[in-house]
Symmetry: C2
């Protein structure tokens, strides 16, 4: 029987330590093909390249049995190109990450990591995005290893429900501090942006986006609650954005 | 009493005919401020500019009472900059579009038009994205005028439910062929990509994304069904991506 085929991608780029750790954690689960951006793509949301060229380069960043390709496009482009141009069969799983930084709560909307996983989900491939709540390039991914392996093993054995993508976030704590894994809902939250306004040498105003995360949710069933309590959060995430609860109210409008 | 403040944006760029028509249709509803990308941003999904500079330029494309600004960033950046740097009060409504091309069914995931509206929704601003199912720059927006005005009037009068954004798509037919407005759910669909593989003058392979839309849904309550029957579709859309129906199943995993 063929080993499971696992497509691995991310948004921090093909050389990112989070991706390199993920490849090592996954290597005993199946045949690994990596298709990842050739440069950082954080905050790219579900962008795709519709009016520009795309390049793919086979390469070898680390030793190992995995095949690796870098792609000039977005995380979603990586998944599309892998499916249509590189893989000879449908992957059994797509794993994106490990992201350097949280994709919990509203961050899922802006996340390139999750957009790659969601793109795979749209294609009918079981998919997971992993993120560690530490932006540092030198972040410690080791405490996450056991939980990542357990979630991947359960995903392959039990099957992720169709149309559902797992958004897994890992708190930035040591292995002994980790309390376990909780299935959660996405917390209500927002970013309070502050734009840092500057002047160019020629006197033109420009802005840098900065901001502070604002939690708007006191629930004890959210990903933010779980992370604050040192649990790994797993949010089942979907791409049917219909707000079914609002249909009746809108049907009362005079349209 | 102050007139309603309406923030207008799009993803096709500040000079796009769809935006220019939208401004004219909205001008009697309130004070209009336009903050739109300085270049086309189709397919940008919910991208934001996290590691680059952003520029804003006040300008005047058409005559009228509206204030207009072009922005070097994505549609979501336009909304963030408008909120934090340009507007002296919270808008009563954000309207994005009129997009040149459909944002029905799975297109909502890739849509810059809808990402701007969703960004406003995250900020607690009632928001609507309008799209005409015709990619042509010279598309005929006139048949959509009456329905757009009715939807905007009802939105201001009745109030869009909190956390809900309206995704409105308009079939490309004449005014007499339009059958009315239907509240719908997002149809299940996918893009069957085909990459057009070419060689650069120096012999390097590259790809252009092309593809065909594939409807995977026979329901008669979807946006695609409504559009095919010459109805305008209104899908209430949300940014809580939690797949609540999957929580129980995942809780049975050994995690």
């Amino acid at each position: 029987m063929a080993k499971p085929l696992i497509l691995v991608t991310n948004d921090d780029g093909i050389t990112a330590p989070g991706l390199r750790h993920l490849i090592r954690y996954l290597k005993d689960f199946g045949d690994i093909v990596v298709v990842a951006p050739d440069s950082p793509q954080s905050g790219k949301g579900h962008a795709i390249t519709v009016d520009d060229t795309l390049f793919l380069n086979q390469m070898s960043v680390d030793e190992g049995a995995q095949k690796e390709y870098s792609c000039s496009g977005t995380p979603a482009d990586c998944v599309k190109l892998a499916m249509r141009e590189l893989l000879d069969r449908k992957p059994d799983l797509c794993v994106s990450g490990i992201n350097h930084g949280s994709n919990a709560s509203i961050n899922v909307i802006y996340s390139g990591t999750m957009s790659a996983a969601i793109e795979a989900g749209i294609e009918g491939i079981p998919a997971i995005g992993f993120s560690l709540c530490d932006h540092a390039w030198g972040a410690d991914f080791k405490p996450a290893e056991a939980a990542i392996k357990r979630i991947v093993a359960e995903s392959l054995e039990k099957g992720i429900p169709n149309g559902v993508i797992l958004n897994v976030n890992i708190p930035n704590v040591s292995e002994t501090e980790l309390k376990g894994i909780k299935v959660c809902r996405q917390a209500r939250a927002n970013w309070r942006e502050k734009f840092d306004k500057r002047q160019s040498p020629s006197g033109k105003d420009y802005y840098w986006l900065t901001g502070e995360f604002e939690l708007l949710d006191n629930g004890e069933d959210t990903d933010e609650w779980a992370l604050a309590k040192n649990y790994i959060s797993v949010v089942p995430t979907q791409f049917d954005l219909t707000a079914y609860h609002a249909v009746q109210q809108l049907n009362e409008w005079e349209l």
